[in-house]
Structure formats: C-alpha cells, structure tokens
Symmetry: C2
DNA sequence: ATGAAAGCGCTAACAA
DNA sequence: TTGTTAGCGCTTTCAT
C-alpha cells in the first residue's frame, strides 16, 4: 500500500484516470465525485474517495488551472522577509490562504521598482489569480501598472489612493505618539521618519508632527529625518541627530527596529533611553516588551487575513473596499518625561 | 500599445498562438524561438521576440508544466518566517531560484509534524520539482516519508543522517564556543540548548559541552536546558536558571534571540552581561553587533544558494552530496572572563 | 447519474 | 528550419 502511494511520484503518476480505471467509471465521474460539492450517487462518491485515498491520488493542479483559468494561487510582494513585520503579515496571509484552499507565493523586491515589476510579472506568469502588495510606493509605481492590466490587487500595510488597501490608521497612530510625547512635556522632539515612498512611514511621521504642532511644539524639518527601516539605519541616523542636536529630549522612530538602533546610539552617547531621552517605536515586535520600548501595537495578523479575504472577493468577482484598522499606543519605560535641569 | 498589453489579462489572453498568428508562423515555431536556447532562423527568432514583447505575451507556465512534467518550481519548508535566520535562508534560496529560472514557494510549519506533512503535500500537488527542508526533525519525520516517495529533497540548516543536507559544522562551532569560555576561565557554564529535535540545536550544545569537558569543566545535565528559539523563551529559561544556579558565570545560547532574552533576564537579576556573566549566542543576526554579543557567524546566504543548487542537481538527475560549511566565532564584549571574587 | 468529447497552453517527436 | 500532430491532467458542456 505504501508502495502504491510512492508510485505517485516514483513510478507512473496516479491521475484521475488511474482512479477511474480502478473504480470502473469514467474520468469525468471521478472529477465530479472529488470536487468540494460532489455530484453523483452518494455510494459511488464514497467509493471513489476511498479509492483515491488508497492510491495516494493527488490532483495535478496545473491541469485544473489550465482548464479553468484559475490557479487558486495568489502572489504576495514584500520588500524583505527579514523584516519581521512583513514576515508576520505574510504568515497571516498564508494561513488564511491555506484555509481558503489557496496557495500564497511570496516574492521579495527590496523596494526596487525594477524588481517589483519583474517579480510581479513572474508571479503572473505562474498564473496567480491576484496579488497582495506589501511594498507599494506612493508614486504608484508597479501597482498602477498592475491595476491598469486588470490584475486584482490588494495593498497591505502601505496604502495608495485609488487602490484597495488594508492598513492601520498610521496618521492617527502618529498623532497618538506625538500627543503622548507632548503631554509628557517634551519640546524638543525628533522623528526618524523612515522611507519617503512608504505611506506607512510618511503617515506616521506626519501624524506625530501634526500632533506636536497642535500643541505648540514645532519640530523643525531638520528634526524629521528619513532613514532605512532596520536597526543599523536607526543607529546611524540617531547618532547623526545627536551630534547635531544634543538638546533632544525625545525621538519617535516609525518602526521598532529603528527605535532599537536609536536606543543603542543613545547609550553610546552616554544617555539612558527613557530617562535622558524618550524613545517611541512602532509595531510592538516581540523584542519591544523586553526592551521596555513604548510603541504602537498593530493587528498584523488581522491585516494579513483581511487582505487575503479582500483579494479573494476581487478575484471571485465581488467588490472590495479599503479598510483601516485601529492602532493602540503601548506605553512602557522608554518614554518618560524630559529631565528637568 | 498599452491597451494591447492589458489584453493579456483583461481581454482575451495573449497566448503563443496569438503571437504565432501575428507572426505568420506556427505556434511551435514561436515556442522554439522563445526558449532559452532558441532554435530557428536568427531573423525569425528576433522578430518573434519583438512581437511577443509588443503583445505583452507571458508564458502560461501551467501549460508548459503539464506538458513537460516539470514546473520549474521548488518548495521550501520552514518552521517560521518570523525567525530571521529562516527568512534569510529563504531569501537566499529565492534569489538563487529566480536566477536559475525557478520559483521558490515557501510554507511554514511551526515544527508541527502534521503541518509539515500537509504543507509538503500541498506543495507537491502544486507540482514542485523538489523540496528544500529547513525544519527537519531528528526522528526523520516527514523527510523520510518524502524521500521514500522519491521526492528530491535537500535539507538546510538542520541535517539528518541519510539525507543530503547543507549545514554549518554546528558541532565544531559549539566546540569553539565551549573552548572560548573555558579559556576565559569560566568553570560554571550553562547552555540554553534549544530544540531537542533540531540537529542544529543539539549539535551546537553537544559541541560546547564536549569542549568544556575536555578542559575539565563539566557542566552537569541540569545546566543544559532545552528551550524555544525566541527572545521570550531565552528570557524565561535564563530567569529560571539564575534562580536555581546563582553562581553561573557564563551561558551559551544556541541562537542569538535566546541570548538576547538571556541578557534581559540577567539585567533583571542585577547582573551585567559581559561583566558579571558571559553570554554567547549563535548566528550573528543584525542586532548582535549592537548588543555587543559574542556569537558564531554562519554563511546563511551561501547555505541557501548551495541548497538550491544541490536540489536542482537532484531534480535534473545529477547527484548531490551533503555539505558542511565553516562557522566563525565572533568575540564581542558580552563574553568577558569571570569576575574574580 | 454517468459517459463521451473537446480543449485550456504548451512542447516534443516526427515529417517535410 | 519549420509545420504537423498529439497529448500532458483536468473540467465542462452535451448527450444519454
């Protein structure tokens, strides 16, 4: 019996015809019996199922895909999988996909427009029914191109006007952070603003700046610095900032890794995060509690699964609409009031 | 022209026949002209390429796959993509795959045997030509099952006797760490030993223990504790260890995240990593330099690309063999000598 | 309820 | 060098 199963790969493949022959019915009958909503005599259906199981039959999805024009696969484009937020989001998408009988195929682009187009193209060649884009650029970029080709697309994390997206209300979150720091009494706040082309980065930064200005704290443009999304970038940017603005009392980094890098830079300057300079991050990654980092918690799992649902709606001809989820400020020891004197 | 390209999806699909018709040749001629190593009159080949480009032709890989029995896709099984080491390795595999004209499809299993089998099965249904397994269990598990079905399989990171694997010499690395700590004068060393079913974890731990015993430092079995691979697990395990063994002077965690968690636990106990208790991790993840963490650097990119090569060798009927790469000890401030007195 | 037949897009053996 | 033909595994009318 085990040998039979092995034959699926090793020997001749077990196809729908193999099952049909053994069952003494026509291949089309097997096909019908094996679908989600089987048609046919209940007894026959059961017999065919048992036989398929026994023979170790696995459907060759390429055949079905070719015939139906649907691959039951979706593509996911992320800038890096080593960015744990993108990884979490993809995992959530993947879980939801498997549950819905779909396969999620991921591709990394490093935010490079050329690779974005190329990988999207490859995915399309693979026959994916739609695309989830987690690395959209504010200039439209390949997303506009995809949409103009009629490809079902849903954005996640980073939004873009005119396209269906599943995001957190980053601007509101930024306001929460800005308000928090202002309320603590900070008047000299810097923002590590992330990537200029990412709505997630720019909205968070803009929200914080707006909230600060509302309360009369006006961080000059020289205190809002773009930077990469990882520890090293945050470290470097913060080091430079401290050299130029030794009077800083707080910093908001638009993601936790940058914040962690900033904390390291602070210590190198002899400053204790939370006591000498308040630090706030974004995402509440698993290391944030341990680092006592004040941050913004976002429902990445939800974002992923909702994005998949929305995409399937689009793929299956239903309508889909943008969704903005609520962020939550999580206050920890890294954000204290400014030192007096 | 853009409208033409859009027709690929929106309107009628652009197939090889569309191109053939417009070129005034037969479909098979187009097929031949478009392959990697084109056959046909150079002029005709160029013309067909130009036409294909103009029409926005994208091959429907399902068709080719059905015909040739090769999908030019490989599956990759990891336990979690949020584990940055697994993510790095997958990215390397993915890069190498794209370069070779393949698509890498990843699935996460959480080290759960049931999900391992299920996801492997799904991938196989998708027609992958082979599988790279980054989450192998020492009991054989689904890897044996796959191999017995004749599926080409290459293991990466975690090895398993009797299967082709691409790993780091974890035992040697463990020995380097053990030797390093012994040389510093540590006599009371604990090991956060990771997962019992992972060769990577067990080999690293065993290597360290062996090196320590060689030098007369005999960590008892109560000082070698299994634990999960993330920050939280390391944190918890270290906390418990410190409660039971307040006289510890050094700890080796078989990965950096556990080590980071351990450092946090130390600080909570009023101990300064590197000064009061030496800490060594494993992998040299991007945050390790900032944390001043002594660790072992492993060529994850190389492992990924080599694993893919090996798999393609297997898939294409050539032979493949296990490869063990060299680790490198990176000494930083987190591992100092024991405090005297 | 089941069988027959056709065809999705592609490639490979063979013929010209 | 190019065209012809056949068929990979599957689903889906249409007929029975």
């Amino acid at each position: 019996m085990l040998a039979d199963m092995a034959s699926n790969r090793a020997g001749r493949a077990v196809t729908i015809h193999t099952v049909a022959e053994r069952a003494g019915v026509h291949a089309s009958t097997v096909s019908r019996a094996l679908r989600r909503d089987p048609a046919g005599a209940p007894a026959a259906v059961r017999r065919i199922h048992a036989l398929a199981e026994e023979l170790g039959y696995r459907p060759t999805l390429a055949g079905a895909s070719l015939r139906t024009g649907q691959s039951h696969a979706v593509g996911v484009l992320v800038h890096r999988l080593t960015d744990v937020v993108q990884a979490m989001t993809f995992e959530a998408i993947d879980r939801a996909a498997v549950e819905a009988g779909y396969q999620a195929m991921v591709a990394t682009t490093e935010d490079d427009p050329e690779r974005q187009r190329r990988r999207a193209d490859l995915l399309l060649s693979r026959g994916v029914d739609g695309l989830i884009v987690a690395d959209a650029h504010l200039d439209g970029g390949y997303v506009d191109w995809l949409a103009s080709r009629g490809v079902p697309v849903v954005l996640v994390i980073r939004g873009l006007p005119g396209h269906v997206s599943v995001t957190v209300d980053d601007r509101l979150a930024g306001r929460l952070v800005g308000g928090h720091l202002a309320d603590l009494g900070h008047r000299n706040v810097a923002v590590l603003a992330g990537l200029a082309w990412s709505s997630a980065s720019t909205e968070r930064a803009a929200g914080a700046v707006a909230a600060l200005r509302d309360r009369g704290v006006g961080p000059g443009d020289d205190l809002v610095v773009p930077c990469g999304l990882d520890v090293t970038s945050g470290h470097t940017a913060m080091g430079r900032l401290l050299d130029e603005h030794p009077d800083l009392t707080a910093v908001f980094a638009v993601n936790d890794f940058m914040a962690l890098g900033a904390m390291i830079a602070l210590r190198e300057h002899g400053l204790e995060p939370g006591r000498d300079v308040a630090v706030v991050g974004y995402n509440d990654v698993d290391i944030a509690p341990a680092a006592e980092l004040t941050t913004v918690r976002c429902p990445h799992d939800q974002m992923g699964s909702i994005a998949l649902r929305q995409l399937l709606d689009l793929v299956q001809g239903r309508s889909a609409h943008s969704i903005r989820l609520s962020p939550e400020l999580v206050v920890r020891a890294s954000s204290g009031p400014p030192r007096t004197g």
